[in-house]
Symmetry: C2
Subunit: 215 residues, 2 copies
């Protein structure tokens, strides 16, 4: 195989690993939400035990990219592709950690629900946005879809609006719960918000890759 | 200059940029703590306006590293050094964001203090650990000091213990404040904790660099 073809083939493998990571963290956050809203212990444990898979995919991306850099000594746009792949993998790995944090919070409160009835709708809505964003990343990476990548910013606005909504409920004068529930709500809210932030970063990486412009 | 000497000289510049970043985020977190504990508006605004400097240093590391990779086509350990420099810069950049978050929380509550008297000692102690860790990173990077790098793990244990302490105060039956103060406390506590986590990561990067072993 010519060097160029070999580079393309290797790059395709890296891209596929990133898509695998995006799908894995999407599944993880979905299952973590089930654990959270249904106090489902088995779901929580599954998310936690499977975080190692995401970490392993991350190491594979690192190894492939390092190997490719060493063998092919890429310059210009090829080099940019590889560095961006590393950065995207780091964002996806962190998204896996955040799903893990949600699952661990659910587990810590089990068999009680970590989230009271008043906060369920907003967490359901946050989870829906998170799921949509994680699904989009997979397509954005595999198709280098800059339109989808830019949409992630708008999705993140929806997540931010839900975050404001969450705090409005917790800070209303008739909030009947104590500090513990408020703290759990605030930290859980932040885990979903950060998940979305990293999805946005992943989108920005792809836009940079295609257009050469930092968002 | 021979290629090899040129590589060393360029690498030294990258290393110096990382040290500059470590010093900048140390100053930022120190000033953010002043803003937080003394309700000091000017300090908060200074941290926020100077976060752009950290971001700019991060971009400079990215550019230098990309340029070096393209010009020198490094392999093996040289390549590892460069990739690790990028990852360390990403951790330091995030530490700057976390100082910015602390400053913004202080500003949002100004002229009230964001942290009530009961929580001051624990935040003072968290800030002291954060400061020690950020100072250590600068030395660890400039001297490739693996002993100091490993100490960051122990420092982080101290931060984790303070985090437990923080929650103990907020969840005690005689906690006199409402949900808002508890939420601020939990999120602020998390900002310091994450600051320490990224410092630990930076230490692990240096250990990997010197020993070739992932921590």
């Amino acid at each position: 195989m010519a060097l160029r073809e070999e580079f393309r083939a290797d790059l395709h493998i890296v891209s596929q690993l990133l898509v695998d990571m995006a799908e894995a963290v999407r599944t993880a956050m979905g299952e973590a939400t089930t654990a959270l809203l249904r106090a489902d212990k088995a779901a929580a444990e599954d998310v936690i035990s499977r975080d190692a898979e995401v970490d392993s995919l991350y190491r594979q991306v690192e190894e492939r990219v390092t190997d490719l850099m060493a063998r092919q000594a890429p310059v210009a746009s090829d080099l940019r592709v590889l560095i961006t792949a590393l950065q995207t993998a780091a964002d996806l790995e962190r998204m896996g950690d955040l799903a893990d944090h949600v699952a661990k919070t659910a587990l810590r409160r089990h068999p009680s629900p970590a989230v009271p009835a008043e906060l369920r709708p907003v967490f359901q809505a946050k989870a829906a946005v998170a799921d949509k964003m994680a699904a989009k990343i997979a397509t954005v990476i595999s198709k280098l879809d800059t339109v989808g990548a830019a949409e992630l910013d708008t999705d993140d606005d929806a997540m931010d609006a839900l975050h404001v909504e969450l705090f409005k409920v917790m800070l209303s004068p008739d909030w009947p719960y104590g500090a513990e529930t408020a703290i759990d709500g605030a930290l859980l809210g932040r885990f979903y918000e950060r998940f979305a932030d990293h999805a946005v970063n992943a989108g920005h990486h792809v836009i940079y890759l295609v257009t050469g412009e930092q968002v």
